[in-house]
């Protein structure tokens, strides 16, 4: 735990541009994570020709991604390239924005999320989400975790207690909060709140976990804890993570999708495009596209 944390904080501290590449390569050379070498993992989600309009504005287009079991998939790219828009398509959160129009398909175990046989509530139960800023409900720690199970088929008090304990343990928060479950969630630190939000997402037993820049509001130590946690749970819950932090993508992910912006014909605002999608090792050591290479070496974005 301790040396992992130290290791994780190094890139944060020494992120001057020329060093980035070497630090990344160092991490990769250490054989950064367990199952990533084996890419025979079964596919669980897939986007085909995914594109999103906000009103008339085409925010992102032609995104073809495959999400695999036991893996962490990172979406990286400069601001405005549509990473967050894309991740929100994977659990239909864009439904909540009236002007958003999703085109193409997202398949979950072969079922189209936007097809008639998919219900948005059930989609979101199966595909959990953790947000950029910790967003605990104004309730107690216990009630925060119990909220999801409660709205997804009223378990008994005993079952709820078990779910809360299991989820908090899974999110590595149990030891810190077990004596004050009745306290307000706002009494926790930012990093604890984010782990509480992860516990809350895990409490409904999702099949996939979406994380939209989960560490951007956290300090390096809290970030390291979340990253450790992601590595621990990915075999049970495949993760898609949006991150602004390239080192984070390199540290935690098995596959990386690099998005970029381009201004299409007749367009005034830039549209996001998926430039390259491959194993994290390939993206960070030997990318096929020069734009990817420029971005990860710090010459762009």
């Amino acid at each position: 735990m301790v040396d992992k944390m130290v290791n994780a904080t190094i890139p944060e501290v020494s992120s001057t541009l020329p060093k980035v590449g070497s630090v990344l390569r160092m991490n990769l050379a250490e054989g950064q994570s367990s199952s990533s070498a084996n890419f025979a993992n079964e596919m669980i989600m897939e986007s085909v020709g995914l594109q999103v309009h906000y009103g008339d504005f085409l925010a992102v287009r032609d995104v073809n991604l495959t999400i695999h079991k036991s893996e962490i998939t990172a979406l990286i790219g400069p601001s405005g390239c549509g990473k967050s828009t894309i991740i929100r398509c994977f659990n239909r959160m864009n439904d909540l924005i009236p002007s958003a129009k999703v085109g193409g398909n997202v398949f979950y175990k072969g079922i189209d999320l936007y097809g008639p046989e998919a219900n948005s509530g059930e989609v979101r139960r199966r595909i959990g989400m953790v947000f950029q800023k910790p967003n605990p409900f104004p309730k107690s720690i216990y009630e925060n975790v119990a909220f999801g199970p409660k709205v997804n088929g009223k378990p008994s008090k005993k079952e709820t207690d078990e779910i809360v304990e299991r989820s908090l343990k899974r999110a590595a928060l149990w030891e810190e909060v077990k004596d004050r479950l009745k306290q307000s969630a706002f009494s926790l630190s930012g990093g604890q709140q984010q782990r509480l939000c992860i516990a809350r997402a895990l409490a409904v037993n999702p099949d996939v976990l979406l994380m939209d820049e989960p560490c951007s509001a956290l300090d390096p130590i809290a970030t390291a804890r979340i990253e450790d946690l992601m590595a621990e749970i990915k075999t049970e819950y495949p993760i898609i993570i949006v991150t602004h932090n390239m080192q984070q993508a390199a540290r935690v992910s098995d596959r990386t999708a690099f998005f970029n912006t381009e201004i299409g014909a007749n367009a005034t605002r830039p549209t996001g495009v998926l430039v390259e999608y491959d194993t994290t090792r390939k993206i960070f050591s030997n990318p096929s596209d020069t734009r990817t290479e420029q971005y990860i070496s710090g010459r762009m974005g």
């Binding site: 009236p98 989609v123 959990g128 967003n135 999801g148 307000s184 809350r200």
Partner: protein
């Protein structure tokens, strides 16, 4: 020594800047006076209420005022038991709150969570117009419509007359509903979007999100809205004067005419009570009681709001 004085002078403003600073001081003084006037007016009201009230309680004992149940202060022989007014006030207020709080909340939920943009754009101005209708118009609406068509139809427990606290209470409820709606909708709109998304992301439906996350998060604001609505209902005079009659019945039957504290003040204030007479002082005694009751309710609800604030922040 001389160099240090020169240095200090360099740091002092001069010319236009100096005049500007004096203007700043003047503005601060002027704004302070305006702000203090609110306090002065409140103090003035209390003083104006207290002196005739003291005179009233010199001739009528507090025991008779709060201990008996007949209220005929302007008749001969007079009775000064204030309970009919207190019961009338709380009957009208409770009926109004029972209508306005759930109704206002439902409209607020609809407008902020369910309604499409185009419906919201049409509904909100209509509600604002409703909030701007003069209360005397509501009063005649109570007599001509609510009384005979609604109150008389739903009140089956006793014979309901032309004047009743039920019809007054319903109408006051309708009058304060737009305010309840606007204030609680503001409280709901202030709930961070991240919380709402967090609930949806767990598979919650719209109703579960409303009752499970938005309502508790907005609760302190909603309670504050309810308190303001309640205070308005207690203080409402014209509607009650017109629709509930001017008979201070000691009864819990809301089908009967009743008088509230404020409608008594309005009623007696229009009459020809000679200044300094006991009848005249009665108005102030009732006014003081109304002031005390409103004050206690406000303090009480501030405590409630503060309690919820503590839990949720």
């Amino acid at each position: 020594m001389s160099t240090s004085i020169a240095a200090i002078n360099e740091l002092q403003p001069s010319g236009r800047k100096l005049r500007q600073q004096r203007v700043e001081k003047l503005i601060k003084f002027f704004l302070m006076i305006v702000a203090a006037s609110g306090m002065l007016i409140t103090t003035g009201v209390v003083v104006a209420l207290v002196r005739p009230s003291i005179d009233f309680f010199r001739s009528i004992s507090l025991g008779e005022f709060l201990g008996t149940t007949a209220w005929f202060p302007l008749y001969e022989p007079p009775d000064y038991g204030v309970w009919p007014l207190i019961i009338g006030t709380f009957s009208v207020m409770l009926i109004a709150v029972v209508i306005a709080v759930p109704g206002g909340l439902a409209i607020a939920f609809y407008l902020s969570q369910y309604a499409s943009d185009s419906i919201r754009r049409k509904l909100k101005p209509i509600l604002e117009i409703l909030a701007g209708v003069p209360t005397v118009v509501f009063g005649f609406f109570a007599i001509n419509f609510i009384g005979p068509n609604i109150a008389a139809k739903i009140w089956v427990f006793s014979d309901i007359g032309f004047y009743s606290s039920l019809s007054a209470g319903i109408t006051v409820g309708l009058m304060i509903m737009p305010m309840m709606t606007t204030l609680s909708e503001d409280a709901m709109a202030a709930v961070p979007r991240a919380l709402v998304e967090g609930a949806y992301a767990l598979g919650a439906t719209k109703r579960e999100t409303c009752t499970g996350v938005i309502f508790p998060a907005a609760l302190s604001g909603i309670i504050a809205a309810g308190v303001i609505a309640m205070s308005r209902a207690i203080g409402e005079t014209t509607i009650v004067l017109l629709a509930a009659g001017s008979t201070a019945n000691f009864t819990f039957d809301v089908g009967q005419p009743m008088q509230t504290m404020s409608s008594f003040i309005g009623f007696a204030g229009l009459g020809d009570q000679p200044t300094g007479s006991t009848g005249y002082q009665t108005i102030f005694a009732v006014g003081s009681l109304l002031f005390v009751i409103t004050f206690i309710l406000n303090m009480f609800s501030r405590k409630i709001v503060a309690r919820f604030r503590e839990v949720y922040e």
